[in-house]
């Protein structure tokens, strides 16, 4: 612990020195734009020279990788989708004249067709003809087998590999691959469509050190990595020979701009074409501008307040219920999310299959909350710490509002606002009595969602919720091939969880991105990962 603190101390010093060094060089640099931001002035000049470049401002740059099998955050995931293909992929649908991504609809990609055995444990894929990696090598059965071997050994994709219960991946002939599963799994195709199971070029991956792919690309995807500096930008050039047809832009440039107001300024001035993570409060004012389009769509993201039953007084159901009765979802949606959110009435997003709001009877009710606390023996209230991640302003805002509400029933909420790394450490160790959490299921299905979040062995079960009933229902649903029966089981799961109230549901938040009017072809996917290949201007 002591050495850690010293480490934090030293690294903070180093970071600050680095930062100050950057500031110096930026001063000496001649700045072309009036904003005086050197990064953007280079973008502007790059834009005028290249015909069609799309510049996207991301909110985060640090901590990611180009390796699809190591990717765990949304930024890295978007790179993986740009650089690599998977055997199958998410479909799209036309809705109100717009193309919308459907992560629950699977369509062929590298595999043009597949057969599933009657016992649902053997999948045989036939690969598309004539697909080549960016290196010129063919995408064949060997490449698929190698990629899955590699995925199995990596941290992020390895856990999905285990979850998918893959027993073996075998080459039948050059164009055919057979997967054997330990048990039937209705999600298997959806798993294959995730970035974690990207197909990498074995000739490149094998002839280089293991971490080569962290900073280089070796895929068959629509883009090739040109250069990458995790602190400032990443540049992707179009793969002109892309087998699904070359992308309509020559280049995609990613800029990392941490400050939300800077992203908005750059977008408004045209220094960037797309800006991600636009704060909800600015949606209304930005939407009025003629040069911008703001996309605000509900994703799979849920925001909740987790309460750990290991800590007093949350061991009492009545206390957890009382907190639930103090949540005014409409108020949070209006005052924190500026109406860019919708109510959350279950432990899973309403976009998910099998969603039901049945059993959710909570509504803001001060008297009921007081009565419940009295019954639980906390008539005078209690004090607790709410752990909040400092990465997003919204969570602090929620906490401030909740604190004011809970004061009315004598409960003192201390806001423990911590840096992202510290937040993850706290909730991973389940040492936060209460925390504000969010979750976006990459695979839009209750099996995946609950497998992580509320199964007693779930990797993201930060409240330590453990219910025999729920565990049994989930295990039963996982191997239930009939969709109607499965849906019924998942509805029971939701009802049980809502009754146990390990969480207080807050809202489902929208994914908000801003575009300049000339940018076309944006397809929104509920997994929140942006795909570059459809963009053009």
């Amino acid at each position: 612990m002591k050495s850690k603190k010293i480490l934090v101390f030293i690294s903070t010093l180093l970071v600050i020195m680095l930062l100050s060094a950057c500031a110096k060089s930026s001063n000496s640099q001649e700045s072309a734009t009036s904003s005086g931001e050197p990064q953007v002035s280079t973008t502007a000049s790059a834009k005028s020279s290249a015909g069609s470049t799309i510049t996207i401002a991301y909110s985060q740059g640090a901590g990611q990788t180009m390796d699809p099998h190591d990717a765990g955050d949304l930024t890295s995931a978007s790179y993986a989708f740009a650089l690599y293909d998977q055997l199958v992929t998410s479909g799209t649908e036309e809705k109100d004249g717009k193309t919308v991504g459907r992560t629950d609809k699977i369509v062929p990609s590298l595999a043009e067709s597949w057969k599933i055995s009657d016992d649902l444990t053997t999948y045989t894929f036939v690969l598309h003809d004539g697909v080549k990696f960016q290196s010129g090598n063919a995408v064949n059965a060997d490449a698929v087998v190698y990629s899955f071997e590699r995925a199995k050994d990596k941290g992020e994709s390895g856990s999905l590999y285990t979850l998918a219960n893959i027993k073996s991946v075998t080459k039948i002939d050059d164009k055919t691959v057979e997967f054997k599963l330990g048990a039937p799994n209705h999600l298997f195709l959806k798993y294959l469509a995730t970035f974690s199971f990207s197909i990498v070029d074995p000739s490149v991956a094998k002839s280089n050190p293991d971490d080569y792919l962290t900073q280089h690309s070796a895929g068959s995807g629509a883009f090739i990595l040109e250069k990458w500096d995790p602190a400032t930008e990443a540049v992707f050039v179009a793969n002109k020979n892309y087998w699904k047809g070359a992308p309509k832009v020559d280049k995609v440039v990613i800029k990392y701009v941490a400050e939300a107001s800077n992203r908005e300024l750059f977008l408004d001035k045209g220094d960037v074409d797309v800006a991600l993570d636009i704060p909800a409060k600015d949606v209304e004012s930005l939407s009025k501008k003629d040069n911008l389009t703001i996309s605000s769509q509900s994703s799979n993201r849920i925001v909740y307040l987790g309460m750990n039953a290991k800590y007093k007084p949350f061991d009492q159901l009545k206390v957890r219920q009382a907190i639930n009765y103090m949540i005014d979802q409409q108020k949070l949606i209006k005052d924190v999310a500026y109406n860019q959110a919708s109510p959350l009435k279950s432990s899973i997003s309403s976009k998910s299959p099998a969603f039901t709001s049945e059993g959710y009877e909570y509504k803001y009710d001060l008297d009921k909350a007081k009565t419940l606390l009295k019954e639980a023996g906390y008539e005078k209230g209690f004090t607790f710490d709410l752990t909040v991640n400092s990465s997003t302003q919204d969570y602090e805002d929620i906490a401030v509002l909740l604190k004011a509400e809970l004061e009315k029933i004598g409960v003192t909420l201390n806001i423990n606002k911590v840096a992202p790394a510290q937040y993850r450490e706290l909730i991973n160790k389940k040492s936060a009595a209460a925390y504000l959490g969010k979750y976006t299921s990459l695979v839009n299905d209750p099996s995946y969602h609950y497998g992580f979040l509320l199964d007693s062995k779930g990797a993201s079960n930060y409240t330590g919720y453990s219910s025999k009933v729920v565990d049994d229902l989930l295990a039963k649903a996982n191997v239930e091939p009939d969709e109607a029966k499965r849906t019924e089981l998942y509805k029971q799961v939701q009802k049980q969880i809502t009754a146990d109230s390990p969480w207080a549901y807050l809202y489902e938040s929208n994914l908000i991105a801003g575009f300049n009017k000339d940018v076309q072809g944006y397809i929104f996917y509920p997994d929140e990962i942006i795909r570059f290949s459809s963009l053009y201007k």
Partner: protein, 288 residues
């Protein structure tokens, strides 16, 4: 005895208040201290009272400095913020004095290896810009008011140590110290009764100026998220919070706390400068 003391103080006060700017500084500091003390009675609303129906209102008759995104009254929050500021300033400079002055006195009086060691450690601390050192310290202690207090205090230690060291080295060569030693007065007694009282004047100047920079560093730490925990009303944290609202036009969320910080620091600096001039025995600077 009484009259003998009275006279120099009287002269000193006269000298001090002759300067208009010093007077301005003193008034600014006093205003903020009084506002901080009387905040609960003066503030029209509670610092954390939420009125969401009145959110993001520009300054008006009901909310003199406007409201923030929860409808909290900026004016009330600034008044309560003054308490945090005055409190952190006093405690952190208190820490710095309590540690820095004895260290400097010991190093200066005894010298030798110990003195050398103490002063080299102080030099090392001084080598870092104070804000950067404070950030690193606050980050390793962990966020919260306590961490910020301690960080600001530690950062100010070497300044006091060095000042005291210099004073002690000069004073200990004076005849009256030599005389004391000759008649066998103990070291402790010499340090407390002879050296310290003679070094008080520059220390007071340093404390005044130190308070100014303590206010600035605490606000900076809070701005960076290393200071107070939300929703505590603190000027730096208020600016940090309001900066997301600058482009959407809600300037009052940043301007008023900014002015509060500026006037406080300005006050301390004017006062400190004036004190230095007034306490200067040679009276070098007698400008108005």
């Amino acid at each position: 005895m009484n009259r003998a003391v009275w006279h120099p103080i009287h002269a000193f006060l006269g000298k001090l208040l002759q300067r208009r700017l010093v007077f301005v500084g003193l008034v600014l500091v006093l205003i903020w201290v009084v506002l901080a003390l009387l905040a609960p009675w003066l503030a029209p609303y509670g610092p954390d009272a939420i009125h969401t129906e009145d959110k993001l209102l520009p300054p008006n008759a009901a909310y003199w400095f406007g409201t923030d995104n929860f409808g909290r009254d900026i004016f009330s929050r600034i008044l309560y913020g003054a308490r945090v500021t005055v409190w952190t300033g006093m405690v952190s400079i208190g820490i710095a004095c309590a540690v820095g002055i004895p260290l400097g006195a010991i190093a200066g009086y005894f010298g030798g290896k110990v003195g050398n060691f103490i002063m080299r450690v102080m030099d090392t601390l001084l080598a870092f810009p104070s804000l950067i050192l404070a950030m690193a310290l606050a980050a390793s202690i962990g966020p919260g008011l306590f961490g910020a207090l301690l960080a600001v205090g530690i950062v100010a230690i070497p300044e006091f140590a060095r000042l005291m060291y210099g004073q002690t080295v000069v004073i200990k060569e004076k005849e009256f110290i030599e005389a004391s030693r000759a008649i066998g007065v103990r070291h402790k007694s010499i340090l407390f009764h002879h050296i310290l009282p003679n070094a008080v004047a520059p220390l007071i100047v340093q404390i005044t100026l130190g308070l100014g920079s303590a206010v600035l560093i605490t606000s900076s730490l809070s701005f960076l998220g290393l200071g107070v925990k939300p929703p505590t009303a603190e000027w730096g944290a208020m600016i940090s919070y309001g900066r997301n609202y600058i482009i959407s036009g809600e300037w009052w969320m940043t301007v008023f706390p900014g002015l509060a910080i500026a006037t406080t620091i300005f006050g301390f600096i004017l006062l400190g400068d004036g004190l230095r001039d007034a306490l200067d025995p040679h009276g070098r600077t007698s400008k108005k």
